[in-house]
C-alpha cells in the first residue's frame, strides 16, 4: 500500500451547539481516487473546507505527506498542492479561459501581462491531460462541462497534485459525466490524487478506489470500492437499510388534465425559452421532463403556473384556458406545485412551520375567518400534517429555516400534496434531500398518481425520472425533442437527446 498523502486524525469542528465534524479520521493514499460520501449535513463539506484552509479545526491534526501542517487559508492549501473544484464555479465570466486559469499567478513580461505565454501554458496543460478547451474563449460562452474543465485546469496550473471535487457531476449530462471521469482517470494515471465528494453511489463504484462514508459528523466506515456495494454504502450513509428501488404499478392514465398546445414563453431577458411546445398530461400518469438545466424547464413550469406570461399558444387545465390567469386563480383550479428552489420560492424561511404549511393556501376557507387568519384552524392543520409527513421537529412554532433540507422539502410536500388538486407539478423534488427523504417523497409522488392526479416531474437526475415517470419528454432549447415511455429508454439515450446530439423527432407541426 502506498503511503497516505493526506492523513486527518480526530478532526473536530463545532458551530455553536452543532458538531459538524466530530472526531473525523481519514487517510488518503497518494495517486488514488478516494470518494467521500454521506447525506447532507453529514459533515463532508465542512471537512473539505478544513482541508482547503477555509475553516480552522477546533481539534485534530492534518498531515500532508507525513508532515503535520496548519492550513490557514486556501493559499496555504494551494502552496501544499491541494486544489479544489467547487460545486459552484468560481470563475470570472467575462474573462477568457487563459485569463481565468492564470489569475493570481499571471504570466508577465516586465509590468505587462503576457497573454500569449498564458495561452501557451494553458494549451500545454490541456494537451497533457486531454482537457480540451480553447484558451482564448470567454468563460461566459462555455458549457457547464467546459467551465468545470477550466476549474480543474486552474487548480493544476497553480500546482495542485491533489484535487478535491465537490459534487462535480451535479450539473453535468451523462455524456459530460463520462468525459469528466475519463479526465479524472487520466489525471490519476499521471499521479494526481483525487478526492471526490458525492452522493451518487453509482459514480463512486464506477470511479473510485476507496470510499469513506460519513454520517452525523463522523466517519462511519472506509471500504475498498471493489469490495462494497450500493446497498452497503446506502445503509452506512443512512444508518438503516434503504429501499433503493421504487415499487409502482403500471399507470392507468385517464382523461387529459393538462393540455399544452404550441406553447411559447420567453425568459427574463425576453428571449424565447419555450418554443412551440405541445404536451398532454393525463390523470393517473407521471410525465417526466428531462433536460440539461436552462433548456426551458423553469419557464415551462412558470408559464403553466401563471408566473410567466404565455407568449403564444395555449395552456388548458381540465378544459379551462389558463392564459392570462393569475397564479392564485390557477392554483385555485387545482394545481399543486413543488418549486425547484424551496429555499427561495417554496418556503418563507423565517416563518414558523405552521405558517409555511398554509403558505399559498392561506386564503382557503379552512384557514381564514373573513380578513383574519384562523389561527386555530392553521394550528390544527399544521399539527396533523407534521405528524402525517413525519417532519422533524414536529413543532409548529419551529422556524422553517432551522430544518434540514429533507425536512424542509417534506414541509413543502406536506402542503402541496394535501391540496385538492388535479395536477401536481414537482420540480427537482429531491434536490439536496437525503436518501431517507428521497425514498419517502418518491413514494408520495406515486401515491398522488395512484390517487388519480396528473403529475409532471421536472428533474436533472435521470435516474429519478426513470424510476418515477411513466412517460418522459426531453427538452432541448425549449422544444420537446424526444418523447418515450420510461420503460423503453435509458440514461444514455436520454443524454443523447438532452445535448441535442441525437436527431430530433419531427414534432406534430415541425
Amino acid at each position: 500500500m502506498k503511503p497516505p498523502v493526506i492523513e486527518l486524525a480526530g478532526i473536530v469542528k463545532t458551530f455553536g451547539a452543532l458538531r459538524a465534524n466530530d472526531g473525523v479520521s481519514l487517510s488518503i493514499e497518494a495517486g488514488s481516487i478516494h470518494a467521500l460520501v454521506g447525506e447532507n449535513g453529514a459533515g463532508k463539506t465542512t471537512l473539505m473546507k478544513i482541508l482547503y484552509g477555509l475553516y480552522q479545526p477546533d481539534a485534530g491534526t492534518i498531515r500532508i505527506a507525513g508532515e503535520a501542517v496548519r492550513l490557514r487559508s486556501p493559499a496555504d492549501a494551494l502552496a501544499r498542492g491541494l486544489g479544489m473544484v467547487h460545486q459552484h464555479f468560481m470563475l470570472v465570466r467575462p474573462l477568457t479561459v487563459a485569463e481565468n486559469i492564470t489569475l493570481g499567478k499571471e504570466t508577465t513580461t516586465g509590468p505587462f501581462l503576457d497573454t500569449a505565454r498564458a495561452a501557451a501554458a494553458v494549451r500545454a496543460l490541456s494537451d497533457r491531460y486531454g482537457l480540451a478547451v480553447d484558451p482564448a474563449a470567454r468563460v461566459e460562452t462555455l458549457s457547464v462541462g467546459q467551465e468545470q474543465r477550466v476549474e480543474i485546469l486552474k487548480a493544476l496550473y497553480h500546482g495542485a497534485n491533489l484535487l478535491i471535487l465537490d459534487e462535480p457531476t451535479a450539473v453535468l449530462t451523462p455524456q459530460e459525466t463520462e468525459e469528466l471521469f475519463a479526465v479524472l482517470r487520466e489525471l490519476k494515471a499521471a499521479g494526481t490524487t483525487i478526492v471526490l465528494i458525492t452522493h451518487k453511489l453509482r459514480e463512486v463504484l464506477d470511479l473510485s478506489d476507496r470510499v469513506t462514508v460519513m454520517r452525523g459528523g463522523k466517519t462511519v466506515g472506509t471500504r475498498e470500492t471493489a469490495a462494497t456495494s450500493i446497498p452497503e454504502l446506502a445503509e452506512l450513509m443512512v444508518g438503516r437499510p434503504v429501499l433503493l428501488t421504487l415499487e409502482k404499478k403500471p399507470a392507468t392514465p385517464g382523461a387529459a388534465v393538462l393540455a399544452l398546445d404550441a406553447l411559447a414563453a420567453n425568459d427574463d431577458r425576453g428571449l424565447p425559452a419555450v418554443r412551440d411546445l405541445s404536451l398532454t398530461v393525463r390523470s393517473g400518469e407521471i410525465v417526466g421532463v428531462a433536460g440539461v438545466e436552462g433548456n426551458g424547464q423553469a419557464e415551462l413550469v412558470e408559464a403553466v403556473l401563471g408566473l410567466r406570461r404565455i407568449a403564444t399558444g395555449e395552456a388548458r387545465l381540465g378544459g379551462v384556458r389558463l392564459n392570462g390567469l393569475t397564479p392564485r386563480a390557477i392554483a385555485a383550479l387545482g394545481v399543486a406545485h413543488v418549486p425547484a428552489d424551496r429555499l427561495k420560492r417554496g418556503l418563507v424561511l423565517d416563518f414558523p412551520l405552521a405558517d409555511d404549511l398554509v403558505f399559498g393556501r392561506h386564503h382557503e376557507p379552512a384557514f381564514r375567518k373573513g380578513p383574519l387568519v384562523d389561527r386555530a384552524g392553521v394550528r390544527a392543520f399544521a399539527a396533523a400534517r407534521l405528524a402525517e409527513f413525519d417532519v422533524r421537529p414536529p413543532d409548529p412554532t419551529a422556524r422553517a429555516g432551522n430544518l434540514s433540507g429533507g425536512n424542509q422539502q417534506k414541509l413543502v410536500v406536506a402542503r402541496e400534496f394535501t391540496r385538492d388538486a388535479q395536477l401536481l407539478i414537482a420540480a427537482h423534488p429531491t434536490r439536496g434531500v437525503d436518501l431517507g427523504a428521497i425514498e419517502f417523497i418518491h413514494r408520495e409522488i406515486v401515491r398522488q398518481r395512484d390517487a388519480g392526479r396528473a403529475v409532471l416531474v421536472v428533474s436533472s437526475e435521470l435516474s429519478e425520472l426513470l424510476a418515477l415517470s411513466d412517460r418522459i419528454v426531453v427538452l432541448y432549447e425549449g422544444r420537446i425533442v424526444h418523447e418515450t415511455s420510461a420503460a423503453a429508454t435509458d440514461e444514455r439515450t436520454l443524454g443523447e437527446y438532452m445535448t441535442g446530439r441525437a436527431a430530433s423527432v419531427p414534432g406534430p407541426r415541425a
Binding site: G16, H337, R375
Partner: protein, 343 residues
C-alpha cells in the same frame, strides 16, 4: 422567551450608549452620575416631565410604526419626514378652512385628512416601485424634498403675514390636552393623540399578525419570490403597505397641529420622520418595541433640555447616534450567534 431574547440587543445598545455618553460627559468636565441623575429626576421625577416625554414620544410612535410597517413589507420608507410634513400642512389647512364646523365632523375629518395626505405622498414611490421596480429609498427621499418645497410655496398664500405658520384651526379640530382630563399633567403639552398613537401600535400589531393581509405582507417582505410563487400579488401588497406607512406617518400632524399649537409651522417636525427610522430599528420593527423605543428617544430628547446648562446640547444627539450604532451592530452580532447555534 423569544420576546425576552429580542429585548437583549436593544437594551444592550441603550446601556452601551449611556456608558459611552458618560465618557463624553466626563470629557467636558462634568460628573456623569450627577448629570444622568439630574436628567432622570427632570424627566421622570415630576408629572410635567412625564407629560413632555409622552408628548415627544407620540410622533415618534407614528413615524416608527410607519417605517416598521414598510420594513415588514421589505420597503425602506425614508419618506416619513415628507409624508408627515405634507399631512400636517393639509390638516392645518382643512382645520382652518372649515374652522366653524362642529368637532364631531371636523375632528374625524382632520384625522382622515392627515392619513390620506400621508398615504398620497407615499403613493408615487409605491407605484414606481410596483410598476417599474424603481428603488423606494431614492424616490421617498426625493418626495421629502418636494414636500418641503411644496409647503414653502403654498405657504406664500397660507402663512400668516411675516411668519412661517398658518392661521389657527377651528376649535372643533383641536384634540384636548391630557391636563383637561388629568390635572396631574398640568402645563405639559401631552394631548389625546398619545392615545391615538397607542391605538395605531395595536392596529399595526393586529394587522401584521392577525390578518391574512398582514401574513401576505410579511411574506412579501421576507421572500418576495416565495410570495409570488404562492400566488400573493406582490406589487399590490407593496403599494398598499407603503401607503399605510405614509398614512401612519401622516398622523404626526394630529399631535403637533391638532393637539399642541393649533397651526402648521415650517420646521415643526424637528426630523421626527428620520428619527422614526431609528425608533423602528431599536424597536425591532415590533409595535411594542417601537412604543418603548419612542419613549426612550423622547426621554433622551427632553432629558437633553433638562441638562443643557451642564453639558452641550449636542450630547443628546451624540447619544442618539450611538444608540443607533450599537443597535445595528449588536443586532448583527446577535443574529450571527443565533444562526450559528441553530445551524
Amino acid at each position: 422567551m423569544r420576546a425576552l431574547r429580542e429585548l437583549v440587543g436593544p437594551l444592550l445598545a441603550v446601556v452601551g450608549a449611556l456608558v459611552v455618553g458618560a465618557g463624553f460627559i466626563a470629557v467636558v468636565g462634568q460628573n456623569p452620575f450627577a448629570v444622568y441623575g439630574k436628567m432622570a429626576a427632570g424627566v421622570f421625577g415630576n408629572a410635567y416631565g412625564i407629560g413632555q416625554v409622552l408628548f415627544r414620544a407620540t410622533p415618534l410612535v407614528f413615524t416608527g410604526l410607519a417605517v416598521a410597517l414598510g420594513f415588514r413589507a421589505g420597503l425602506f420608507n425614508i419618506g416619513a419626514e415628507g409624508q408627515c410634513v405634507v399631512a400636517a400642512f393639509a390638516v392645518a389647512i382643512v382645520g382652518a378652512t372649515f374652522a366653524g364646523w362642529p368637532a364631531i365632523i371636523l375632528l374625524p375629518l382632520c384625522i382622515v385628512t392627515a392619513m390620506l395626505a400621508g398615504a398620497l405622498w407615499a403613493l408615487p414611490p409605491a407605484i414606481l416601485k410596483a410598476k417599474v421596480g424603481a428603488h423606494e429609498v431614492i424616490n421617498t427621499i426625493m418626495m421629502n424634498f418636494i414636500a418641503l418645497a411644496l409647503v414653502q410655496y403654498l405657504g406664500h398664500d397660507a402663512f400668516v403675514h411675516a411668519t412661517v405658520r398658518t392661521t389657527e384651526i377651528g376649535a372643533g379640530a383641536r384634540i384636548p390636552r391630557l391636563e383637561a382630563i388629568l390635572p396631574f399633567f398640568r402645563g405639559s403639552p401631552v394631548n389625546l393623540s398619545v392615545v391615538l398613537a397607542g391605538l395605531a401600535a395595536v392596529f399595526v400589531g393586529w394587522l401584521l399578525w392577525r390578518t391574512t393581509f398582514g401574513y401576505e405582507l410579511r411574506a412579501v417582505g421576507l421572500q418576495p419570490a416565495a410570495a409570488e410563487s404562492a400566488g400573493i400579488p406582490v406589487p399590490r401588497t407593496r403599494v398598499i403597505a407603503l401607503c399605510l406607512s405614509g398614512a401612519l406617518a401622516g398622523l404626526v400632524g394630529t399631535n403637533f397641529v391638532m393637539g399642541y399649537k393649533g397651526f402648521f409651522e415650517a420646521g415643526f417636525s424637528g426630523g421626527v420622520g428620520f428619527l422614526g427610522i431609528a425608533v423602528a430599528l431599536l424597536g425591532r420593527n415590533h409595535p411594542a418595541g417601537i412604543v418603548l423605543a419612542a419613549l426612550f428617544f423622547a426621554a433622551l430628547s427632553y432629558g437633553g433640555l433638562v441638562i443643557n446648562t451642564d453639558v452641550p446640547k449636542e450630547l443628546v444627539e451624540i447619544l442618539q447616534a450611538i444608540v443607533i450604532l450599537f443597535a445595528i451592530t449588536l443586532h448583527v452580532a446577535i443574529e450571527r450567534r443565533g444562526r450559528r447555534k441553530a445551524a
